[in-house]
Point group: C2
Chain length 183, copies 2
């Protein structure tokens, strides 16, 4: 699933500009699910407009570039549903944090523990964002969105809980490595 498809999907919820789509990736329900930079969002929208899957309306603004507000077309909606129906691929995560933990015995204790702390903060921030999304009235009306947000919440809660109760294991690993060096 590429960025083009996800952009169309977002537009099923209503019109948006490239800039706003980026914000949705950062703050909303999509946090932790998908992310993309401007360098891929803008070309994606241009391409979608060329293909007639979205239409663009330019909003004049003073002092700034015109805001290009995109809306989905019937063809775009059909295309998106067809894409979604084609099946899903197992998710491939790529976690620098987990890699660091797997090799934490090679790292100084303070660095390894800092990574744990940093990840805990990230997870807590994501948890807060999801809670806000969960209480949005628009979300409450959609059981599938509740499901998606609830799943994120469940994973994050379990991860935070586990990390808080087991971070001593990371310190133990580094200590053992230091002891080895001292031998």
């Amino acid at each position: 699933m590429d960025i083009k498809t996800v952009c169309i999907g977002l537009l099923t919820f209503g019109e948006a500009s490239g800039y706003e789509i980026k914000k949705l990736f950062e703050d909303g329900t999509f946090n932790g699910v998908f992310d993309a930079s401007f360098g891929s969002i803008y070309p994606a929208l241009t391409r979608l407009a060329q293909d007639g899957l979205v239409v663009c309306r330019e909003e004049e603004q003073s002092g700034r570039p015109d805001k290009k507000v995109y809306s989905i077309t019937p063809a775009g909606r059909a295309h998106f549903i067809a894409e979604l129906s084609r099946g899903i691929q197992p998710e491939k995560a790529r976690s620098e944090f987990l890699i660091s933990m797997i090799f934490a015995h090679l790292l100084p204790t303070d660095i390894a523990l800092r990574y744990v702390g940093q990840t805990l903060e990230d997870y807590r921030a994501a948890l807060a964002r999801l809670h806000i999304a969960q209480e949005d009235p628009a979300t409450r009306a959609m059981p599938n969105l509740q499901f998606a947000i609830g799943l994120g919440l469940a994973k994050l809660t379990a991860a935070i809980d586990y990390m808080e109760n087991n971070k001593h294991l990371v310190a133990a690993a580094s200590d053992a490595a230091c002891a080895q060096v001292g031998e």
Copy 2:
């Protein structure tokens, strides 16, 4: 963090060929943490050897191409630790499953539920692999590996539990959409 770095990291655990590294990504502790294809692993190892971070020993085999077994050099080990110490970036997942759930109200119920079932299977398989890794004697001796595996286990368990108890929400969403079409 790119593939080269992860390959070096794996070699800190002992020598391995490109083929074996791929297996480690699929079956071991790295499942769900990192993945790469042969098309990136082989060039990565070649490059690492050119840079003197690994050395290659060719094992003759009958009928097959020679097996190229790579080992890490002191320079490689230092390089890896330096890379790991440079800090981590927040993990960016990209889940087709979660995207499908966010838009499940646009999908036929059977497809949406199939995706849930498929993901449940994937998660259960990953859980089983992690359990096996957890019981490996080599793992037991490394608290940090216990931590990494335990975290994966905690997330997966929570996710499976949540999905089993809430998949009715996905059906509800599709039903609501069908009702709308029927109006």
